[in-house]
Symmetry: C2
Subunit: 356 residues, 2 copies
Amino acid sequence: MDKKHLMRKAFDLAKKGKNLTGLNPMVGAIILKSRKIIGKGFHSQYGGPHAEVNAIADAESRGFNVKGSTLISSLEPCCHTHKKTPPCTDLLIEKGIKTLYYGSVDLNPKVKGKGIEKLEKNNIETIFVDYQDINDELNRGALNIIRKNRPFVTLKICMTLDGMIYNKKTKNGSIGDSEQLKHSNNLRKMHDSVLVGVETIIKDNPKLTFRGNGCENFTQPRPIVLDSNLRIPLNSQIIRLGNNPIIFTKKNNIQKFNRLTKLGCTIIKLNNLKPEKILKNLMLNNLQSILVEGGGKVFSSFLSSDMYDELILYYSSNLMGNSGLNVSESLHKEYKIKKKSSRIKNIGNSVMMVFK
Amino acid sequence: MDKKHLMRKAFDLAKKGKNLTGLNPMVGAIILKSRKIIGKGFHSQYGGPHAEVNAIADAESRGFNVKGSTLISSLEPCCHTHKKTPPCTDLLIEKGIKTLYYGSVDLNPKVKGKGIEKLEKNNIETIFVDYQDINDELNRGALNIIRKNRPFVTLKICMTLDGMIYNKKTKNGSIGDSEQLKHSNNLRKMHDSVLVGVETIIKDNPKLTFRGNGCENFTQPRPIVLDSNLRIPLNSQIIRLGNNPIIFTKKNNIQKFNRLTKLGCTIIKLNNLKPEKILKNLMLNNLQSILVEGGGKVFSSFLSSDMYDELILYYSSNLMGNSGLNVSESLHKEYKIKKKSSRIKNIGNSVMMVFK
């Protein structure tokens, strides 16, 4: 088995931690001895043991001695203290790991090469197998927490060619064909939470779940609702599905608070629902990547405050005309997109634009 | 000189007829004898001699005898009578042309292979050098006249990402950066007329001219204005530039008619300014390809009546918000684009979508 193949396997393991690692990165690790995989592990719980620890424990639980083995890890092992778990570097040294293949440098300034340095000093051979870009994309949420002190935000909306998101006459808000819907549903797989305004809940009553390939064994993203006046219907699908919704409100309605809490919701009362404040609170709730799905008010609010990292616009191949509700009806001044790179793609009969 | 090289030269000649051939196709021709070009010609005037005739006359005027020579023509020579000029096939036979290279079959059902047949019967060798697609693109206006009995219509508009074309607050209608403007200005080169609503003339006072490379020796497209109430200002740039504007109106204002006519305008009074009627009238005025540039009313009217062959949408990388005038403010019902193929491209900071 070549290095790259092993590293891909480590990343496949890492992905199993999707939506389970809180603010931590997803990490996968493999133990190789005499050309045989003897242990596997991934980081599967915020505050829980790291991938390396789990891989070593896996090997040992099956009767193997890891001394002299090779560890393949998607990420540089941690070396810092004063956190929930002890440094992985110490364990590797203690267990007599001989060689480390690592796929990326930990960009957390507390580690960032220091883990490797420590291992080298302790005569563990370290080999970099460059999967840095793949790691940085996979862990863009955790990285954003380190870099910007807030979750990664994808701002997404689907509209007609004339910028409409809802037909006021027919009361129809479904834009885009099945292929576009599938593509945009897939975005939910890549985020640990999906945020909408309460209008969207009232008008469309969406599930806010990922429904594509592999959705059966998938920890669904948490639904987040911005609901100034606490209007959310108690029988909304997001409440009935039990994916631990978080509802942000400005209203002090103890009775509804209690009913919603009993139904499994977390209610957060704030003086205002500005994106910056919302994101700070979501981070406190261990969420690292938010997909903001609209509607228009929420879209305009995140856009105009520049509180997003990626902007995805889908245009369906029709125009709604003057019975349409425009995407920017709540945008009170002109907004120039500041992202440098833009990508365009045909998705079914729609066009997707990505700015990041 | 190989066949393809000669054919490209014939097409270069054809293009010199841009905006001069009325409803006829652009055609170029070359006479080759003893490996030397002895004559060149192109169709340069509606009702005037064809490219082949001009090429033969050019050779003869320079003292050459064309007997036994090779004629390279971008289009199959005509063979039908009862039109402004006699059939070119007869001339080729009479002059003793030995070989014909032709780049495309004339799709006019009166010719369509019959010209070639006649030449073959008269012992002229004919060789097809396949430039059919290039000819069909170059002469899409003339072809549309044959196929749809109306000019080729390109419907083009530039808007913000939220579908706005004008800022009602700042009274600013300039959307798009210099690269986008250059790209969209180039479209004027490919049409023999540019159509706008009178609002655009009043708000922006545009020149409606092509200003790119080669514009000095270029016959500018005719400006067409839809002006129900004949509000066009007499000092508008399109009038001052003298490119023979055509103004469509519903109003019977003899005094203004006379003043506009004196200034070089053609005034056409109609009971209604529906696209179908406008296009029929433009065809009667020998125009074969119209670039419809807006504003919103004109755009919606041509769109909803399906009176276009190509739709070009430019999206600049900003949103105007709720002070914007939407592109479809005059579109009274939902419109689904029926064109099959769509192409997307980044133009500077803008995105271009083409449906055809």
